[in-house]
Symmetry: C2
Subunit: 395 residues, 2 copies
């Protein structure tokens, strides 16, 4: 018999992965994946860029390159982050295979078996999947409308030995859509200082703000190199290029770069050159600004439809940005069973049942809904069908 | 102070990585990297393919896709492997971020801290780098001109507890260029059966045979799913796309796919679609056959120059394919010191000192030379300069 390593037991199929395959069925109305809207990708610009890059004189564009990422692209990312209040240079940046790889590398660098990662409650399921092979223990911090509860965090840090990382998605969190308040960002860094813990700040949705005031990143308050900042091109350019970044101190970045080399040698040279050429030739901030109205409208439509269609006893978050709203059903309601028995077979609607988003103490009466990739008419149909089935299920 | 995980101590800068940065200096004659010849990449074909893919109707080409790889590409890889004597289907294939990611995923799946990986002696340095984060112990098997010594392997398996993996590059091994004989391939599988161990067969150079008879893969002799087979498009299409594959039993492949999802979500959609379109529209075997004469000529030139320029007491392997020859200097000679003190400062020539290729008991009197990416005149100049400096150093 095959004897796997102990970590293999912690690697289980995720509900999101199952749904990704169902979601390719055109009959299905999927609020499942956190997909950006493909119609907003800058196809014409990228087409021209790839054509420019793929010429015999440019053969190096298909060759191996530096494992920590194309220097020009690292410089461009550093420039953007500097403008976002995080002064840094190209040598502070590591290019990763999407934001997900940053999670994998950081956990590998910091977490030995049994050491504790503190997550938000609920938290990004992909982060749990990335962390699990390191065999961590978890503690989780309750959230409210202002993000994770820093007093509860302080208590956890006081009472939990071996905490190595605090993982947070401060902007339009996955799955709740909530944003960590300014005051709590500051406090979070103070707590990490006081308890000698590293913060892993993950910001894939940061640029997708539809209302309210942009807040400084947590890294912005970092004076001692205790915050590792992750970002991604997936939502601002295209996920199919698999490009993300890590900003960290030289010591940490160097170790992460070695782990990156070990994991997959490097990101694809061609895609890095294409992203770099895009940033040179085009104003990505204008591109992002151009996308926001479409996403804002989707969010507004989702919130309006939820108000119209959801029965009493069902609540949801009102995100200022990002791709998700988090729906809470009455206590005791099992969203996974509801989806399996009613939502999919009777309405062809997909959501992501909430249980898997909890690192500790899974609660079944939640679901994550993504509004970004669903055409308007199908969004309306899907939410209405869900409301009807819920009314029936809730009696 | 930052407290890293224990595995961080095993992640150290590799000599190859240092050289990759030096190698971008146009003054340097580099026999260091295992780079394919960029002038042989099918640029025109790929240019047309990317132009076809990057149209508004094809926006999904930049979207997320299945984490185990594009189904069509998996089918194409399965077809190629079936023709190579390994009957399989798309669901047996996992697409990876180059061959390197296969090494990372397989070690994660099988190896707990302190368990043993058996490697060839010497072995591919990138594999050691990939395995180290799992904190394995190593045992290594001596090689001769027919590859790893299976009798020595049997003795290791008899006397070493907790062996989980045997790692081998059977075709034109990195770093020695040696090929495992047919009889030993068969015996290797028998031994793995007898001692209940998994074989990890890594074949990045398999298609680059310049003479002699193609041998069946080790996987070809596998009747019980004990061999995991890795391959890569890096040397037959282009490394800058970062595309490789794993062939394994459904149970193992499914676990590896979950670890892949955890590590980086998926390979880049665009690059997978491009490789798939290439395989649909073009005859990659004809492309490979077209590249072989150029590589064969390089190998011949390297071997001829070594014969001409090396002083007595220096020997080297005569590879039937692949990118490398392995040079052995007299006992006690330190190739790293020679490179640092003489070869680089006085001749601007790079090789890869051999010590780091040994999993156990590093021996400094070797070097790996790659001939694939060096223009003829510079190859001649570089080997001659190396010969002159060696003659001086060896007295």
């Amino acid at each position: 018999m095959t004897a796997f390593a102990a970590r293999a037991a912690l690697v289980q199929p995720s509900p999101i992965r199952e749904f990704l395959s169902l979601a390719t069925n055109p009959e299905i109305i999927s609020f499942g994946g956190g997909y950006p809207d493909a119609s907003l990708f800058p196809m014409a610009e990228l087409r021209a860029i790839y054509a420019d890059l793929l010429t015999p004189a440019n053969a190096q564009t298909l060759q191996y390159t530096a494992s920590d990422g194309l220097p020009r692209l690292r410089a461009q990312v550093a420039e953007r982050l500097t403008r976002d209040g995080m002064p840094c240079g190209p040598d502070d940046i590591l290019i990763t295979q999407g934001g997900q790889q940053g999670l994998d590398l950081v956990a590998k660098l910091f977490v030995d078996r049994g050491e504790v990662i503190v997550t938000e409650d609920p938290t990004f399921i992909g982060a749990l999947i990335a962390f699990n092979p390191c065999e961590p223990a978890y503690a989780s911090v309750p959230m409210d409308e202002d993000g994770l509860d820093v007093d509860a965090l302080a208590e956890i840090l006081r009472t939990t030995p071996q905490v190595k990382l605090i993982y947070t998605v401060p902007d339009f969190q996955n799955p709740t859509g909530r944003t960590l308040s300014l005051e709590r960002r500051r406090r979070l860094v103070e707590l990490a200082e006081a308890f000698d813990v590293t913060i892993l700040e993950d910001t894939p949705y940061r640029e997708l703000r539809y209302e309210g005031t942009r807040l400084p990143t947590i890294k912005n308050f970092d004076t001692t190199g205790r915050v590792i900042h992750l970002g991604s091109f997936s939502k601002i350019l295209a996920p199919g290029l698999r490009l993300g970044w890590v900003l960290a101190t030289p010591e940490i970045r160097e170790k992460l770069a070695l782990l990156k080399l070990a994991a997959d040698t490097q990101n694809g040279t061609l895609n890095m050159r294409a992203a770099s050429a895009y940033l040179d030739a085009h104003d990505i901030d204008a591109h992002i600004a151009g996308m926001l109205p479409a996403y804002r409208r989707k969010r507004d439509l989702m919130l309006a439809m939820l108000s119209e269609a959801m029965p009493d006893g069902v609540t949801w978050t009102r995100p200022d940005g990002g791709l998700f709203t988090w729906v809470t059903f009455p206590d005791g309601f099992d969203s996974a069973a509801f989806q399996r028995d009613h939502l999919i077979p009777r309405a062809g609607v997909l959501l992501v049942p909430g249980a898997a988003f909890f690192a500790v103490g899974q609660r079944p009466n939640h679901a994550r809904l993504s509004y970004s990739g669903v055409p308007d008419d199908r969004l309306v149909t899907g939410v209405r069908a869900m409301g009807d089935l819920l009314r029936e299920a809730l009696g």
